[in-house]
Symmetry: C2
Subunit: 221 residues, 2 copies
Amino acid sequence: MRIALCGGTGDLGRGIALRLIRDTDHEVVVGSRDPEKAREHATQYEDELGSHDVEGDINGFDNAMAADRADVVVLCVPAYHLSDTIDAIGGSLDDTVLVSPAVGMRREEGTMNYNPPSAGSVTALAAAAAPDGTPVVGAFHNLAAGRLADLDASLDWDVLVVGDDADAKTTVERLADGIDGIRALDAGPLAAASEVESLTPLLINVAANNDALADLGVSFN
Amino acid sequence: MRIALCGGTGDLGRGIALRLIRDTDHEVVVGSRDPEKAREHATQYEDELGSHDVEGDINGFDNAMAADRADVVVLCVPAYHLSDTIDAIGGSLDDTVLVSPAVGMRREEGTMNYNPPSAGSVTALAAAAAPDGTPVVGAFHNLAAGRLADLDASLDWDVLVVGDDADAKTTVERLADGIDGIRALDAGPLAAASEVESLTPLLINVAANNDALADLGVSFN
């Protein structure tokens, strides 16, 4: 498949790009509002893969061109850029699955709390902003991006997948399962997204309060 | 320590009672609004332990008497009984740590959602209902009670502990750590309780949507 990482120049995009190229046969393209920045990061990711003896060919484009002909678009942008990004790529979507990994959080007195938009979850916000007929799947909300982007770090994490389109969910579950050390789990419909997103501030709070733990994920057992 | 399980005749109370007796040296007493019911369940728990070659002495009382002289009281009651139960035992609390494991949830079209009270979390509700000076710690929110109560089942679960009183949290963390297969983690102050409670509907949704999984807990890694 062709996987476009829109806003893919941050840690989450970097981590997904590196691991998809290393662990799967998917084509990966990096998108950014600034195509030059996308190209620079694509080259950086190739270099990083090369330093791990992995040959990878990654292109960088503006977000709309990155999304063009993509089977899956991962919206690696903060929640407040989500609607703008979907608007920018809307004309490029054709049988494309949109993946929303963003979470709304706010920090107060050192504690991170879930801060959902009025739509109930950021994933639901993405679904509301998506063009008619474009399925939105929530996934990759709970990945510690720094560890994900460190190819020397091993993972033992579950990725929770939510959505209302069964085929689109299956596509995303298979994509996530392709990454070494990640198991995709079906966490239910879009209406269950807020509980998945709430796990992200919990992971941050647990890492902040336990000396031996950092860059956490979870596994269900 | 003396551990009182108020409302301890349900699955959660049963599981905590059986495992504390089997795995630790704590004294365990079962409380119920109906002292006769508490005594019956205490005897059942002793019999269950006996069938696993564990000798245990468990007494049953009404909730107030169970809480009397307890070091830790675990409020094993549904969220809507929490305030009543705290009112009933309030006169018995003296240097006692109150533990709140209850979660507010509602099910809609087969999906479980977190449904917090206006206090922000059920744990915060318990803290508001507790007598002045009685510390409230949130813990044991995310335990699948059926598996917990099955002494033949092994666990590999983290218990998340929240609260504003450091000493009380340490007491509860040590209590939880004493159970085989459970690791206590500090998830922050009371203000972080809603994210911990939200994990419970998530666990239920994941178990409901993945055939191979049931009676789930999580581990952070």
